[in-house]
């Protein structure tokens, strides 16, 4: 018996949240991947680079979370338990690298929910997009995130 999913969440925009990128978080993220690129880890290499500082690796924005919000908000809105979700797809579009000390504003919206039946049974695909802007309001990066819910 498949569980229901609340498709009424489509179109919902979550309150914008700010993220200030900490230097140490960039380095921890790169080391956790085993990516020891000096442009992420070495302050001197960063200072001498075209960016004037270290930069974040391409997938770093996946670590952005709204620290004021309950991390389970989306799952609660969908009405599903964390044990049922898988990461289906992810996309990043970057206009320039994310940098330490910068404060960005993130806005997440649920774009779509569609259902399909796969080999392992019925599934729902929840498509979210997060726009990341700088202090001037310019879009620096966009993330698209597809969560798969095993129904």
């Amino acid at each position: 018996m498949p569980i229901p999913i609340n498709t009424g969440v489509v179109g919902k925009e979550y309150p914008p949240w700010p993220v200030t990128v900490e230097r140490g978080r960039i380095k921890d993220f790169a080391r956790a991947l085993g990516d020891l690129n000096p442009f992420y880890l070495d302050d001197q290499v960063g200072a001498a680079s075209e960016w004037g500082d270290i930069i974040a690796p391409p997938t770093f924005a996946a670590s952005f979370r709204d620290e004021r919000a309950d991390s389970g908000a989306l799952l609660r809105d969908l009405g599903v338990d964390i044990s049922r979700v898988l990461h289906g797809e992810q996309e990043f579009e970057s206009h320039r690298p994310l940098r330490p000390g910068e404060t960005y504003l993130c806005r997440t919206k649920v774009l779509d929910i569609y259902e399909k039946t796969g080999r392992s049974g019925p599934m729902a695909f929840v498509v979210r997009e997060t726009a990341i802007t700088d202090r001037a309001g310019e879009v620096v990066a966009t993330m698209r995130h597809v969560t798969v819910v095993r129904l």
Partner: protein, 144 residues
């Protein structure tokens, strides 16, 4: 060769990325990635939880493999070159798996001062099964 810099003029359609081999995947790396990314889903940490969820045991964050693919791109072309990276997570990565990231140049184009290279990218496990598959766009410097 590591941490290279590639110029747009030196790239041809059909060129392959130098493969990047990561792993074998250990639990400590998943724990470390959870801490660094803030993704503390117990399905990547707690074998009992993962089994109860019907997943047959712990598996790696998809974003870990995507990070490996990003590294394969930047090891080759340089940090800060990735304009777009989009992937589908095709199969689970388990503890002990070795993940090899690969890519191939599909197209190249120039508009004004921007020189773009499109690639298909993927990662496969030690049995040659694709675990991640997608596309990337890099912006490369020009020699002229």
């Amino acid at each position: 060769m590591k941490y290279g810099r590639v110029y747009f003029e030196d790239v041809k359609v059909g060129d392959e990325l130098p493969p990047l081999v990561k792993g074998p995947i250990q639990q400590i790396q998943l724990t470390r990635y959870a801490g660094a990314s803030g993704d503390f889903n117990p399905i990547h940490q707690d074998d009992e939880f993962a089994k109860a969820a019907g997943m047959g045991g712990v598996f790696a964050h998809g974003m870990l493999s995507m990070g490996f693919v990003a590294q394969a791109l930047t090891d080759w072309a340089g940090a800060g070159t990735v304009r777009k990276l989009g992937v589908r997570f095709a199969a689970l990565v388990r503890l002990g798996d070795v993940v090899t990231c690969r890519g191939r140049v599909l197209a190249r184009s120039s508009r004004a001062d921007t020189h773009l290279v499109d690639l298909e990218v993927w990662a496969e496990n030690q049995r040659g099964e694709k675990v991640v598959a997608g596309k990337a766009t890099l912006a490369l410097p020009s020699r002229v």
